[in-house]
Assembly symmetry: C2
Homo-oligomer: 495 residues x 2
């Protein structure tokens, strides 16, 4: 375990939720008390709801003020309106808490000079008392290992990804979306205006945190450029760091100013900082998510640009997939003639292609031969495979006309096709040492064949296989990783 | 009704499926007989399965050969292997059918000169007898009005979109995906190698077909450049035509050659042809689908580039959405100060933005005021709206802290939130004459709020509201339409 001054913040023993909603089943954001209950925090730590207007909440005692809660409380979540915050800050000092998370909004981000002043004063008072603050205007902490969660439904098994995000809604979106892709998190912090703790503090923490092997950040504004640069550099030397800067454009930058009070910085400078520090720049939420999957799985092992594509049925799909791969900056190399000849021994000509992309369903007994042959053919740096290809081991949906034999049907047993497909991809990679990347195809085709996207994504992730919602996204992600590795040259190699 | 020489092909009275599968429940492609049964063709027309090895199929008599089927048969679907095709062609001539669709593959697309010769000979023989051919190597016809379908599960209500596609799998994908978006089709034809009927024939038909108001094409290779150019020009003068060329890149062009035997043409020439004829070029399947939705709904009425964005909660989402709009070539104009002041009378400052993007949930009684104010504010050429905004009419998930009042909750009655949201968008557009565009947001946020994407897409389409899976895709589509309208200047105005 690391030993870092912020450790207690990520691992509090007792939490008070001040200004807890009087609604026992609040929806949307701000349901911190219920989220902590669901996460099981109360089973190992103290959890104290505070609201002077409520005596009881879901059967638990509700305290009239922070001062009335049992000792010790080390972390406070503030849901009170902004005008009650100064009094709460005084109580936190007297209560000797270690940290406070201000969900409360309405401070510097409003552009109101008086509220910005109040924000500064309260942070000064807290710092003087040795209390660190997260926010204001944010969702705070999701730490599965500490049973902390800021929204309902977050998984409570811990993973390897550290996420820092100024925006609470974006943090929630990343968690939910990446959870459906199989990813799990070590620590997530939404820090809003960043009046006290900010990006560089969390980057330093993430760099030191052994549980976190990939760091992902959503940032709207950099508050102390030099400190940010140095912390990003320290972190990016030891683990992959993905950074999405919200407000890259004129319209977005104006929106970011309204949101977290962030000032527009030059996006060229920001991009140069990423490049110099060796961080990986994402431009959209999709890129951030895809890169996080890629760096947590086998995808980052892809070295060259040559893709062998098993399209999974449909020549037109193969054509558009090849276009997408080419457009992303990878290639679909011609299959060597020797490999073509070998495949033609068991794959009929009509309605199939054994060139690359491969659009062919061989007889099940030749499936493994074909996969290995393609994965080891000259020029194929990686294999893209639809789970529908794996399906053909059990059921041969050969599009071509067969008059001598009916389709071979061997039903899979208790596991889903997605699970078996993912394992088959893992085996192919282990056998051939060629990275195998999972790709879903649109059009409901996979579902029609009994394969659910999320099921496949999660099964693939468990096998260490990176999987993507489309060929275009897989190819674009890998091209970004290759470019990243090129500009990292000279920096320490990271896995 | 138009009167066109191809009319009988799209409206056959009796169909024989020759080489029908002996499997009573075939999966995947090639289940033409079952798809026609499901589509109800047998209820109005003659439907005759042909296979010498089968006496009966799903309780119906199966004929040993085409010659044994009752007269007349005007359309034949060939599922026999390529080597039996010459004999089937002779039978078609004797049987005096009007058209034959060759699902059968294994001809010119294989690159085998002998098979290409056979393909030419059979087409010559058919033409001499006045029989038109679709294919080989394709899925043929889906015409809801004539109860024709080439795959199971296609909707049997007719719509306005004519789709021509060399690829059968891509045709199926477009139909399935656009069906979930609410779109319906007039006629769909997958024509594969295009040995006889090809793009220009279908474009001429689509131009004349009154049922079709939007034409969408997936093409891998143009076989007769001049005829294609002229037919595209004729069609694009009278209705919007969207063209996706598969094989735009080196990798894709190689794949297209393997797929439909298409030869690489210069993509620059193809793009210039689109521009000169006034057709709309799509580069990906997503673009093709989004443009089809846009041209079948209110989206094409958007004239300027200024977007008023109701983000539906979450400042970080608003920031990234503004970035996406800007990147696409549209803008997110500042809200005029007078409108800001008016909204601030009923929207609290904390946790909200009434600038643009608008991230604010006013009290329900002010919702309509706010929507109208924004839609008519200076610079707002269109409104982007998440269905979650409509939801706030019933349930106010205000993120800000409220100590005086609980959340206002008024449950909708029997209709889904998505349906009500779509109607509200329609009303806003009718009241303000500003196009309202529906946008979903990722991250499972909408689903968490009880809104399913497909439900919303279909409800929006019924109201004539274009809806998109993301802000980025909506903005990109509209920017493409604006560019298209610019280069169409001088050509006849189409709706």
């Amino acid at each position: 375990m690391s030993s870092h001054s912020l450790d207690p913040i990520f691992n509090p023993r007792a939490v008070a939720v001040v200004g807890v909603s009087s609604n026992p089943n609040p929806t949307g954001m701000g349901s911190f008390y219920n989220s902590l209950l669901e996460a099981g925090f109360a089973e190992t730590g103290g959890l104290y709801p505070v609201n002077p207007k409520v005596d009881e909440i879901n059967g638990a005692r509700c305290y009239p003020s922070l001062m009335d809660t049992p000792d010790p409380v080390d972390h406070v979540i503030s849901q009170v309106p902004a005008r009650f915050v100064p009094e709460l800050v005084d109580q936190c000092v007297r209560k000797k808490v270690r940290s406070i998370h201000f969900f409360t909004a309405g401070f510097s981000e409003t552009g109101d000079a008086r509220m910005a002043d109040i924000e500064r004063q309260m942070i000064t008072k807290l710092r003087d008392a040795g209390i660190r603050a997260i926010g204001p205007n944010c969702m705070g902490l999701y730490v599965p290992g500490s049973r902390l969660a800021f929204m309902a439904g977050f998984p409570m098994d811990a993973g390897n990804v550290f996420l820092l995000s100024q925006s609470g809604a974006n943090a929630g979106e990343v968690v939910r979306e990446l959870t459906t892709r199989g990813v799990r998190f070590s620590k997530v912090v939404s820090y809003g205006n960043g009046a006290d703790l900010r990006a560089h503090d969390f980057l330093d923490y993430a760099a030191a945190d052994e549980e976190s092997t990939v760091v992902t950040a959503y940032i709207e504004g950099v508050q102390e450029g030099r400190k940010f640069f140095e912390a990003l550099q320290r972190c990016a030397r030891v683990k992959p760091v993905i950074v999405l800067k919200g407000g890259r454009t004129a319209s977005g930058s104006q929106a970011a100013h309204s949101h977290t009070g962030s000032l527009a910085g030059s996006i060229e400078i920001f991009d140069a900082v990423c490049r110099q520090t060796g961080a990986l720049r994402a431009e959209t939420m999709e890129e951030l998510q895809d890169l996080t999957v890629a760096l947590s799985t086998n995808v980052h092992r892809a070295r060259g640009r040559g893709v062998a594509l098993f399209a999974g049925g449909g020549g037109g799909f193969a054509v558009l997939s090849a276009d997408a791969i080419d457009r992303a900056g990878l290639t679909v190399p011609q299959m060597p003639q020797s490999a073509v000849d070998e495949m033609r021994a068991y794959i009929p000509v009509a309605g199939s292609s054994v060139n690359n992309p491969i659009d062919a369903f061989p007889p099940p007994e030749h499936m493994d031969d074909m996969l290995r042959l393609v994965a080891t053919a000259t020029g194929m740096d990686m294999v893209f495979m639809s789970p529908m290809v794996a399906r053909s081991r059990w059921q041969n949906p050969n599009n071509t006309v067969k008059d001598e034999q009916g389709p071979v049907t061997v039903e899979p047993e208790t596991e889903s096709i997605a699970t078996i497909a993912a394992r088959q991809m893992r085996q192919l990679e282990d056998d051939t040492e060629t990275p195998v990347i999972g790709v879903m195809r649109g059009g409901g085709m996979a579902r029609m064949m009994g394969i659910e996207s999320d099921d496949f994504f999660q099964a693939a992730y468990r096998e260490g296989i990176g999987a993507f919602p489309s060929v275009a996204r897989a190819a674009h992600t890998i091209a970004q990783l290759i470019e990243w590795r090129e500009y990292r040259q000279g920096l320490p190699e990271i896995p």
